[in-house]
Subunit: 329 residues, 4 copies
């Protein structure tokens, strides 16, 4: 069985997914749509697929599933349209920056019994997945404390900040999902500190660039998240889970793992430069999981609900900063 794909959005992340589909023996990219003609054309040549309008993909009989990589403010509507069109849907996070809009969208998914998977790619990173597997196998006993360090190599342009929904909804949201993935229990209390240390313009736009968050679950498990929009040494992505019987951690990754020693010491190269290179395998595994889910009829995970819960945690973190108190969710 081959899953036939339509790709909505041929930008940076669209190309990543096109490649993942192209290299997956169970999938075929049938059509790509993008408002920007050249982008669509480039992809259609590289992956030998058609260029179609969104409407044409919606109506197509030769397409089973769509990947939504369009701008965030189109996600919810496109999800609803393709759910109604009977296509399986993979959508980049977030579904929407507004929780209420997400809930309305998920109601459509439920009503149509549609398949919706949300792009929390990090769950599919082989190293992070191995951490989850080690926990499942009992290697560390009961999970007690999770530590997530997540720092971007540099601050995005002001333009991006404006559309992003703020650091908690744009960046920390990945860590909220990872926290839930690792804690194995829902956070019920959120506290956050936030400040502007990297780029004053980010502050002028009402956002933060450096944040620390604590989450707690009902049984008292805790998770700490540390975010910065700056890391001179590359894309810093670490997780550590401390449990009753031990600890498991996933270290940072680098493209090349040599070490040079001289009078200044022992030096290894910087980390991957950003998510495109750091999470190459994760993106491929993510699409493979989406395809596997369609093929077997399994529940999509992470689901639209996972996306909604992470968004609510982001909203709570922002409220915690504003009100100087722990927010119960």
């Amino acid at each position: 069985m081959t899953i036939r794909f339509g790709l909505l959005g041929a930008g940076r992340i669209g190309k990543v997914h096109a490649k993942a589909i192209g290299s997956n023996p169970r999938a075929r990219l049938v059509a790509v749509a993008d408002a920007f003609e050249q982008a669509a054309k480039d992809l259609s040549v590289a992956y030998n697929c058609e260029i179609r309008s969104i409407e044409a993909i919606e109506a197509a009989g030769d397409i089973d599933a769509v990947i939504i990589c369009t701008p965030t403010d189109t996600h919810a509507e496109l999800i609803e349209r393709f759910a109604r069109a009977g296509k399986a849907i993979f959508c980049e996070k977030p579904i929407d920056l507004d929780g209420k809009r997400v809930e309305k969208c998920l109601a459509v998914i439920r009503q149509m019994k549609a398949t919706l998977m949300v792009g929390f790619n990090r769950r599919f990173d082989p190293h992070f997945a191995a951490v989850r597997k080690a926990i499942d196998e009992g290697a560390i006993g009961d999970v007690e404390m999770v530590t997530i360090t997540s720092r971007d190599p540099g601050a995005p342009p002001a333009d991006y900040i404006t559309r992003s929904g703020g650091i908690f909804r744009d960046m920390t949201i990945h860590d909220f999902d990872m926290a839930r993935f690792l804690l194995g229990e829902e956070p019920v209390a959120v506290t956050a500190h936030a400040s502007v240390l990297v780029d004053k313009k980010i502050g002028e736009l009402g956002d933060y660039d450096s944040v620390s968050v604590i989450l707690s679950t009902a049984s008292g498990k805790q998770c700490i998240i540390s975010n910065s929009r700056r890391a001179t040494y590359g894309y810093d992505q670490r997780i550590e889970v401390h449990g009753s019987k031990g600890m498991v951690a996933a270290e940072n990754q680098r493209a090349v793992s040599i070490e040079i020693a001289n009078g200044n010491g022992y030096t290894r190269p910087p980390l991957h430069d950003f998510f495109m290179t750091r999470y190459t395998e994760a993106y491929a595994n993510e699409i493979a999981a989406f395809i596997e889910g369609i093929a077997t009829g399994a529940q999509a995970a992470p689901s639209g609900e996972d996306g909604l819960i992470a968004l609510k945690l982001a909203d709570a973190a922002l409220r915690s900063v504003k009100e100087g108190k722990t927010i119960t969710v």
Copy 2:
């Protein structure tokens, strides 16, 4: 110039300090006092010094400085007595569990212009000191975010918990001092989450065994502290400082650094079993710094005020947990 020492308290930590004095060419241990006769005797034999009463040490003309390693509830009174007796004083933390009592004690110190150094040993660990030095040399630019992971190998007995003042005043207090040491700016806001995950008895005694803390300074620098009373893999003591130009971290230490590889993977031994082995060099360096301070007349550091501020941060953390909000200090 040789500094002549009196040692008050010949227990576990007293022995550590006796050894540090014994191996320091600028110091001599003249007398030891301990209510428990055998402990005093053992030390007097091992280090070839006299056994005296506290009163005799107080009145002695041949003693320049004292090391106070007696139970916590005697610290403040002994500091005051020896300040009045004109001795330089090194006191194990804390001065007292009650901030008001500490303030009263420090007033005596100021009045007598006495020298008081408080035993925050970790500042003198060569690895942590090297982190501070790297910051001072500009290796990471401006400090932005500090992460401190501090986990004991196992929970102390109920008896100890009762006298300890609780996890924030007993255990996290070291991390509060380290945070100040590394941030280079006073924390003004404290938030903490705390729970009982390791040992129910600790909860029954009104204390916690697993805590996460965020500190912020006026300029927005942040510090995260993660504490647990349990770590199956040894005494977990790590610090990491993230700055505008880079990051510096001190890794965990182990007594033996071999690695064994087989079908199960690559295994290094567990960490040091606890502070006595982990901080051997730190304790020796700490006493050396105290001696150096006396010899040169330099200001003692960490001072009684450092002890007081760390205690106030501990009090604020506890209040944050109780009230579910960020506490301003």
Copy 3:
């Protein structure tokens, strides 16, 4: 420009190269040949190419280059045939186990001005290539001493040993090529020790399973090679180059880089299980370099001569063991 490929041999390594061609945008796999019909069929389905006889590929006007992955004893003849047919040739090592046969083959290559690249895949490993690049950039000054550790996870079957030409020609030959790649100067003296420690049957077949080799160049640079047919912890592949200004090393690689800590210590998973997983990127880069060479008309490297020199070093190592002396080459 797209290079059109014929693949001779659809076995384990043939599949690796087919995948490398399939994922390279500048290459297309046109036809596959294999005496074992099912193997050819599987590949033709997976990569959407034709099944043809070797003769048909030889005569084909729609094929620019061939990849030779057939049994070793067919390599030399196939190289000659395809050189005469005007195809660019990539051949898995070795060209032949007999140096004289290799020389005869290379004479044909020179006569036909054909392109021949030999499959020393390790030169294309990103980590090893980065070591070479660091040397080229002067990071360690003049190369002085190279250390190569190369251990297979387990001994091959007796059947394989018989056809292999012995450990020096089969296994160490890769390290001889790596030594030349890193030394940047030809070895002129070879000494080897060899024994049977892993599997008695290997000894009964007249071969060894554990060898140590020293190479020296005219200027006195040295290289040490350590080989074993056994490594319980995975496929052990390390290089280290010591120079006048420093050292550069490439560490082992593992599929998943997590670490689990508990009372037994800190454990990372075993290494890759063998060359198929360890050198995935190297194989893809190798074919990309072959394609690049054809496209630009650059000299193929590693060349047939590189293959011959490595073989001569292997022959010398074997003689050194037999005669108990250093062999000059």
Copy 4:
């Protein structure tokens, strides 16, 4: 029982041993002798002991054991004198640069039933000792291949080279002893390559500065040794033992184990600067073992015979270089 010591030679290594005796509760330094008056005086002040002539120490009733740290060419004679005087003897390696002289000396030791321990300090390094212990506990099965990397931070002065007996007898001799310590079986064949890459003057003096050695035992176990008189990154001291069931390795040590990350990568400090700092613990443990041996009457190890065998391996290595063949010992 306190062992009373006489120290012969108050130079660099003499000070190290004086400190080890001073910090050992079972030992007391009674007297020091040195032709250079100031050196003896410094030590006598620092450790509160007498200055005596060698003859006086020889005749002393209040001295049980001597540490010989005088120049190499006095070792054999002093050993014989103190053996006849009934003192337990610890002598820095080598006993003599001439094997025949060593044999004559050891005959005296046997005749007098004297205790002689030779200063192969590395056996007492906690990390290397832990490697040996892991082997003894069966962690890696049967030992198959040992790799020893041993590089000095820089070349010694010409003056030292002249007296040293050459690199094999001066530097590699430590590795020959370590090889025996780890192989658990006597080497029977030695091959070495040697060249001058670091300092031409060393070559002009007839010595080498860069050597590679292979040792084999009767059962086919192998050991590789890599030596250089130069390592810009510090004192490089590594061992690795590969066995039938796994591998165990001891990594390099550094005084401070922090890591700084920035745009240039992740940098750890250089290694220890030389043996005085690298082997601090080893020297203390070595003297403790000597004392323990005297106290319990156990056989001294490493013994004079261990010193002799290591010397013979050094002689064989030199012959191998000169004759271009494997030397049987």
